[in-house]
Subunit: 211 residues, 2 copies
DNA sequence: AAAATCATTTAGGAGTGCTAACAAAACAAA
DNA sequence: TTTGTTTTGTTAGCACTCCTAAATGATTTT
């Protein structure tokens, strides 16, 4: 045997760490081309994805940074006329909106992970599908353990009906758009996603993985 | 069908991006506990892993940052007595070594990705093995496309003999330690790794994936 | 109405990351 | 040898990230 083979899970963690390092490096280059920084790009991406006006505190939570850091980044973007601040119903709070130019830039900047998609293309169709499924499982596990902010995923969505159909290609069902779909269509950022409480998430998850 | 289902590869890229964001957030907490910053932690990790004395330029390349940034981080670590600088044969260059305290800290800080390993544990044994294999393929693709710095992986190593044995559990062979091993033992950071030129890498890779 | 709480900002400090400009050593050519 | 070029790393200057602690209003609780 090889000397001290780490457990597979450890090696996965290390590999993902390497990937994250590469992503971090790339995010600087990608964002610099658009005249912004990685954090600013992330803010734009989140606001572009967001279903409605987003609060500053919510944004900070999604980014995994402190409120002051988020406040800073937003201020910079406001100065660059990419984001607008408005006070919400609660006069203490601030809600954020992309400006026209902000939307344009968010769209262009969204492609900065494309080089990763290229690498994923080197997998076979089956491998790719399995990899995405496992990736979703890992992200869900991190979400449940509180290590990642809540994602708008099918597998934790109110409208998700796992294995609702006999069809082995499209076994799942989305009650929101009322149509069947398969594992390869599972989403990570659905605008129509709706949260459930812990118990219902657990139950739905068990049903999802049990087949 | 769901509205505008992205291609699977795109969703993988997006998922990995989410993961990278979580990693970035965690790296601050993890490193802060040790009294350092993420970049400094990364420097310690690389030096601990490195087979021999590492040059500053090499380190900068591995980290995917500019020379001044690496120089700064190293200076801070030298001030904290975690790293030592020595001039190499070439009097212009600097080689880096961990101090005793630096080694201790590097070991402790290496565990900051453990929460990811925990998430990976939620996969089944088969899923986990397949996931690691695909992850390695993705990392290799990024390495060949120049999007990630060279990793010391089995699959690009001089000593790697893919499918050298009939044994389906341990089909591969490492010529350095002269023993058979399987897909689940493929390494990402082997100290004994030895580079090959492009043509030989390609040939070996073809042999590896073809079975 | 006073006190506690909440959302956000300000202040201050260490660090990250860049490019540009600079030294010093090593190399190459004349 | 002398001159010019390349390589290795540092310094300088700037914008931004990230933190904690403290401050500022607005809202809720007592």
């Amino acid at each position: 045997m090889l000397t001290q083979p780490d457990a597979i899970a450890k090696r996965i963690a290390s590999g993902l760490g390497r990937l994250a390092l590469a992503l971090k490096a790339k995010s600087w280059k990608g964002a610099a081309d658009e005249g912004i920084t990685p954090t600013q790009g992330e803010v734009l991406a989140r606001l572009a994805d967001a279903p409605s006006n987003t609060r500053l505190s919510e944004l900070a939570h999604q980014l995994g940074v402190s409120a002051p850091t988020a406040s800073d980044a937003v201020s910079t973007l406001v100065a660059k006329a990419l984001v607008e601040k408005r006070s919400g119903d609660d006069k203490r709070s601030v809600t954020l909106k992309l400006t026209k130019e902000g939307k344009r830039l968010a769209t262009r900047a969204a492609g900065w992970t494309d080089f990763l998609a290229g690498a994923a293309e080197t997998l076979s169709d089956n491998e790719r599908e399995d990899f995405l499924a496992s990736l979703i499982k890992i992200i869900r596990a991190l979400q449940e353990s509180g290590d990642i902010s809540t994602q708008r995923m099918c597998v934790t969505c109110e409208h998700f009906r796992p294995h609702a159909h006999k069809d082995s290609v499209n076994p799942h069902h989305c009650a929101f758009i009322d149509s069947a779909f398969g594992a390869s269509s599972l989403r990570l950022n659905c605008a129509d996603q709706s949260e459930m409480d812990f118990a219902r998430r657990e139950e739905k998850w068990r049903k999802f993985v049990s087949c």
